[in-house]
Amino acid sequence: MADQLPLHPGLFSWPSKRPELLGSRCLECGEHAFPSQDSCRACGSEQTEIVGLGHSGTLWTWTVQSFMPKSPYLTDETPETFRPYGVGYVELPCGLKVESRLRENSPDSLAIGLDMELEIIPVRCNDEGTQLMTFQFCAAEVS
């Protein structure tokens, strides 16, 4: 039994040295979607392909989730152990803006235009004790 599994299949390439988000591209109009779709939300075509969407982008907008959400949020946390998390839309190289949790969780560390990088993080454990993994973005290291 694996120690870690993706929370949902097909959202990102993982495990991998450099995980990236996976989406779809319409073979007719070229528009991208995340998560991938069998039909295109722009033109309605049913001809789409799965493509890598990359692992970096810039922060388009953001907020901070300051209290623990109720259902459908599913977590091992309690209101006492809950840590606020950032939420934002990250603009990817193809132009698509993907909604994501952000590692940064204070207004001082978030700004529109910030360079962001993808990371794969555990969200919670399932009943078998397997860690379920999802994606989030964090501010890119300044090199």
Binding site: T61, Q65, P72, Y73, Y89, P107, T134
Partner: protein, 381 residues
Amino acid sequence: MTEVAIVGLGIHPFGRSPELTGLEQGAVAARAALADAGTDFKAMQFAFGGSQDGGNADSLVNLLGLTGLQFTNIWNGCATGGSSLNAAYSAIRSGQYDMGLVVGFDKHARGAFNPQPRDWGLDDWYGETGLMLTTQYFAMKIQRYMHDHGISRDTLVRVAEKAFRNGSITPTAWRQTALSWEEIEHAPMVSEPLNKYMFCSPAEGGCALVLCRADMAQQFTSRPVLLKSAVVRSRHYGSFEVFSPSQAPTVAPSPTVTASQAAFEFAGIGPEDVDVAQLQDTEVGAEIMHMAENGFCAHGDQEHWLREGVTEINGRLPVNTDGGCLANGEPVGASGLRQVYEICHQLRGSAGARQVPNNPKVGYTHVYGAPGISGVNILAV
């Protein structure tokens, strides 16, 4: 083609009413609207009604009378009231019916809504990882808007300040206590940049309207209000909407823009002709953005409009004179009709302490809701 008039107005106060079900609050509103028009339920040829959590609207016949009328349930999210009104408008304009009732009511549990991903065509991961909160969407939309159009935090506070001030003189409002700039600014943060007093909450309440052919209206009231247009539109590809795991590269105009433009075109007037307006204010950022999306000002002008009091009751374009969703809460099924109820009172000159002093002739209502739907009504006397 015949015009459509609103001749009866009824409301059950918004807020919390533990002694009444949502349906009963709808019945209170319906009876009040019928009494206001000097008529009764037996005279209604049709009804359109909607509720999210209060039960089937057509169950109202058990309370109002089993008269055999056509009663259609409408469910269209926040635009439920707008869609009911649109259906009534079409039923009368087409000549199918002369007179009918539109009603909406609701009774939501305390706290924020907890939508389920499957109901919105999304997989469970989206909700489980904490992304499915309307509060986050509203916060992110105004955050970007403030960045793009130079809106300051002061303007956010001023919208809330106005809402609670107007609510304090609205007898049917939920929040009837005015709040100071400081009280609002220092409230607990919910989702940056929006804090506790900048969001409306789910609530309870009922609202109803009696409509008829305009050429019959004088039988029921000396002050009919004409429904000049009733438009509902959904989103286009690229508009920035709630519950979207991704957004298109190019931002398209919101459904508010398209609904507004269509409503003005049908009515044959423009934004400059409107004397009093209700704009969806599920949070303060929404009211700010909707001022521009409905064509009343340019993007960014809200900053000086709020500072100069343009949207106050005694301003050039009073907005949300009854305190809007911020002061009334949002019983989804009733909320859009409350807007029309308030505008009708303003146009009749019967809005009491919150009556706008500009002798209004044209009123405007706008709702916006998930997953990207907007309803606009234009009313005139």
